[in-house]
């Protein structure tokens, strides 16, 4: 994306670049640039957080970088979270054991839902019903039914609903996908997403009775496992790239390494079928981190590699070139065999340069506040959320049923 030198060079030019970018871009990208531009509007905006756990606190940090934002209330069933949140905010946040009490408050304009996946549906719907703006963490909901209800509720209300697919706001992913959509790597037919780690995905538990609350990801009650927690981001990028949602899902998984009483698989594989025979393939393992978190977009003219920090293009060797018909040089026979033709490409790529490679979550949270203040439609809207929920929920169904499952149309 950008080396140290060009980054340093970019620092001083950054502000100019923002406005220049906003002017030269069109449509969705110009809108994204507007939403994530530095904000100087300090109109008070009061946030409530349901589930200030690990992600909730990170979101709090990000939201506190937006002028005028104050976190006024939090709801959690695990009391130690309140002190942790106060520490993040540097002031005391009103605390509630029941999220409905938070929704009743008049001093909460917008609500963050960052609880375990199984709780998103109920809490997001209740928050929209209470006429709050909602920043709902991914995956949007646990079931298709809940997801559809959220789409309905969010489209019926003037309030903002934004889903936690922050990569929609990542400057380098936006810049790279804009080029893909302009045809830079031809027709993208396959996307492969890897999210490989080497750790047990377990969190320390202060006492055994808290196991299912703290390690909820490992149990079916609230979790759809790796497909949801890691796969949903990649599936969203596949939907975005293909401009469609899949029609069918295949998946499998197993518990291979961590036989510790968990219910969700410690490795999963999914294949999503898109219109035109296109495919997205997802792999997640938790006992080898060599591949890390990355996506490969394969097109007829080249490839794009996306990571948490950068984007790099690679181009296919030219296949067919037009030749001057008057050129009649004689062919010379030879018997050489070129093994390198089938070897993987190991050379450098062409990185995507952006002047403001900002943290996607910082950008997404600022955009959300901008939308709340101005009534602008968010980039990562409820349809984005529904699209990735479709992928997650149906590929999980395929994993359970061990057969291909149809994916209903987008809403």
């Amino acid at each position: 994306m950008m080396d140290r030198r060009s980054f340093m060079h970019g620092l001083s030019a950054a502000a100019i670049a923002i406005s220049a970018n906003a002017q030269s871009l069109t449509g969705a990208d110009a809108e994204a640039a507007r939403q994530i531009a530095p904000s100087h509007d300090a109109t008070p905006l009061r946030l409530g957080i349901i589930g200030p756990g690990s992600r909730g606190k990170e979101l709090a940090r990000s939201f506190l970088r937006v002028p005028g934002v104050r976190i006024t209330a939090a709801a959690d069933v695990y009391a130690p979270r309140f002190a942790e949140l106060n520490q993040v905010c540097g002031y005391e946040v009103a605390s509630h054991a029941d999220y409905r009490a938070l929704l009743d408050r008049k001093d909460v304009d917008a609500v963050i839902v960052a609880t375990p996946l199984g709780l998103h549906g109920e809490q997001v719907l209740a928050a929209l019903q209470a006429e709050k703006h909602v920043y709902g963490e991914k995956t949007m909901a646990f079931t298709l039914d809940q997801s559809a209800k959220i789409v309905q509720a969010a489209t019926a209300t003037p309030r903002i609903f934004q889903v936690g697919h922050q990569y929609r706001y990542s400057p380098w992913i936006r810049a790279a996908l804009a080029r893909v959509h302009q045809g830079e790597i031809g027709d993208v037919t396959h996307i492969i997403g890897y999210w490989h780690r080497n750790n047990s995905w377990r969190r320390p538990v202060p006492q055994p009775s808290l196991e299912r609350l703290i390690n909820w990801r490992l149990y079916n009650q609230w979790s759809l496992g790796l497909l949801a927690e890691l796969g949903s981001h990649h599936m969203d990028i596949a939907n975005w790239t293909f401009g469609a949602t899949p029609t069918a899902a295949l998946a499998s998984g197993s518990i291979c390494t961590y036989h510790d009483g968990r219910e969700t698989d410690d490795n999963v594989q999914a294949v999503l079928s898109y219109p035109g025979g296109k495919r997205f393939i997802f792999s997640s393992v938790t006992d080898n981190s060599q591949l890390g978190d990355q996506l490969w977009l394969y097109g007829t003219k080249g490839s794009l590699n996306l990571t948490l920090q950068d984007a790099t293009f690679y181009y296919e060797p030219r296949q067919v070139t037009r030749v001057d018909p008057n050129h009649n040089g004689a062919a010379v026979t030879s018997a050489s065999y070129q093994a390198s033709g089938e070897m993987p490409y190991r050379g450098p790529g062409h990185s995507v340069e952006v002047t403001t490679a900002e943290d996607p979550t910082t950008a997404a949270t600022r955009a959300f506040i901008y939308c709340c203040r101005t009534g602008t439609h968010p980039i990562a809207d409820v349809h984005v959320g529904y699209g990735s929920a479709l992928c997650v929920i149906q590929s999980n169904q395929a994993r359970l049923d061990r057969r291909e499952v149809a994916v209903p149309p987008a809403l």
Partner: protein, 359 residues
């Protein structure tokens, strides 16, 4: 007959039961603590953590959480990552006051505090200076005075204005800056990890940020602390001090690893921000303080300040122990100077360097 039980008795009984239930798993576990070790690259160096835990899965979870926290702080403060919050501030705060989160704000407040009390010997705005001297890309370069003069208006901690009420950062000279956390960020990350490990119930651990900042949580079981040695740079292979660290940090600044040679001269990566030049004649500084953020910053400050100024500064900070070695040939009256240091680490230097005195 049913005996009446008062509410308070009942609640006390219940409380005892609750405590017993809480303790049950810990009591039944009662495995002797074992020592675990893991290393992890972050912030341009290799971090290591040694900790005592009842079993391997517990140790793995604690270490994963600890290294995740270090990575989180790196993502927050790295000047090499354009996505970091500090980089965002560097880019934006010259345009208008920029709101940041309380953690980053506290980091900046502490950085400016040390700039103020050290009268500018410590300054996180030296990024452009390090670049002009070729330290960012490791190529080494002695800039012409004109080059340095041109940089002067853009750097300087006094241009960084913090407004605690609005939590804003503003560069009063309206320039973008290059805030460089290199001389305090590792210590800041160490303090965060220590808080996290303590919250998880860890009572014995040793954290090393690439060897330049250490923190000891508790002691090695059955010992009086975690052992640490300060090498004596005046006597190769010798040790100036051996300590048992316990619930405290120790940071060291030295010119032995990051430097470049030009025409036989050694240029050090630790800068005197006022002179805009690498510090000359100092070999090594070591500071012990309960806060790793502070010991990290102070190890630079006592490296940059002359011995007398260090003594004046630390006069009001009895908890800070400092030990600095200077090149005896550089006209330094004190090749070894210790302030508030327990023991006599300068003994050997004093013996061999007539005229030197130790406090």
């Amino acid at each position: 007959m049913v005996l009446p039980i008062s509410n308070s008795v009942l609640s006390r009984v219940l409380a005892c039961l609750a405590v017993a239930l809480l303790l049950a798993p810990t009591l039944s576990a009662q495995a002797p603590l074992q020592r675990f070790h893991q290393s992890h690259p972050a912030m341009g160096t290799i971090w290591t953590i040694d900790l005592y835990a009842p079993d391997q899965p517990t140790a793995e979870q604690q270490l994963t959480a600890a290294f995740d926290e270090i990575d989180r702080i790196e993502d927050l403060l790295s000047n090499y990552k354009p996505t970091s919050e500090l980089s965002r501030i560097s880019r934006d705060a010259g345009q208008a006051p920029t709101v940041t989160d309380p953690e980053t704000f506290a980091f900046l407040q502490r950085s400016l505090y040390w700039s103020r009390v050290s009268h500018g010997a410590f300054d996180i705005s030296v990024g452009p200076l390090l670049r002009a001297w070729g330290f960012i890309f490791h190529q080494g370069h002695v800039p012409a005075q004109a080059e340095l003069d041109a940089l002067q208006p853009t750097i300087g901690w006094q241009h960084i204005q913090l407004d605690p009420a609005a939590r804003t950062v503003f560069f009063t000279h309206h320039h973008a800056m290059e805030l460089d956390p290199g001389s305090i960020g590792k210590g800041f990350a160490v303090d965060s990890v220590v808080a996290l490990l303590r919250a998880q119930g860890v009572t014995s651990a040793f954290i090393s940020a690439g060897g330049s900042t250490f923190y000891a949580i508790g002691t090695i079981p059955g010992k009086s602390g975690w052992p640490a040695e300060v090498p004596d740079p005046l006597h190769h292979g010798q040790v100036a001090a051996t300590l048992q660290l316990r619930d405290t940090s120790m940071s060291t600044g030295a010119c032995t690893q990051k430097f470049f040679l030009y025409q036989g001269h050694r240029y050090c990566h630790i800068f005197d921000p006022i002179a805009m030049r690498p510090v000359e004649g100092v070999l090594q500084s070591t500071v012990i303080d309960p806060s790793a953020t502070d010991s990290d910053a102070l190890s630079t400050i006592v490296f940059v300040l002359p011995a007398a100024a260090t003594r004046r500064l630390l006069h009001t900070m009895p908890q800070v122990q400092s030990l600095v070695f200077r090149q005896p040939t550089a006209g330094a009256s004190e090749p070894c100077s210790a302030v508030n240091w327990s023991g006599n680490p300068c003994a050997s230097s004093a013996l061999e360097t007539p005229g030197a005195h130790t406090p």
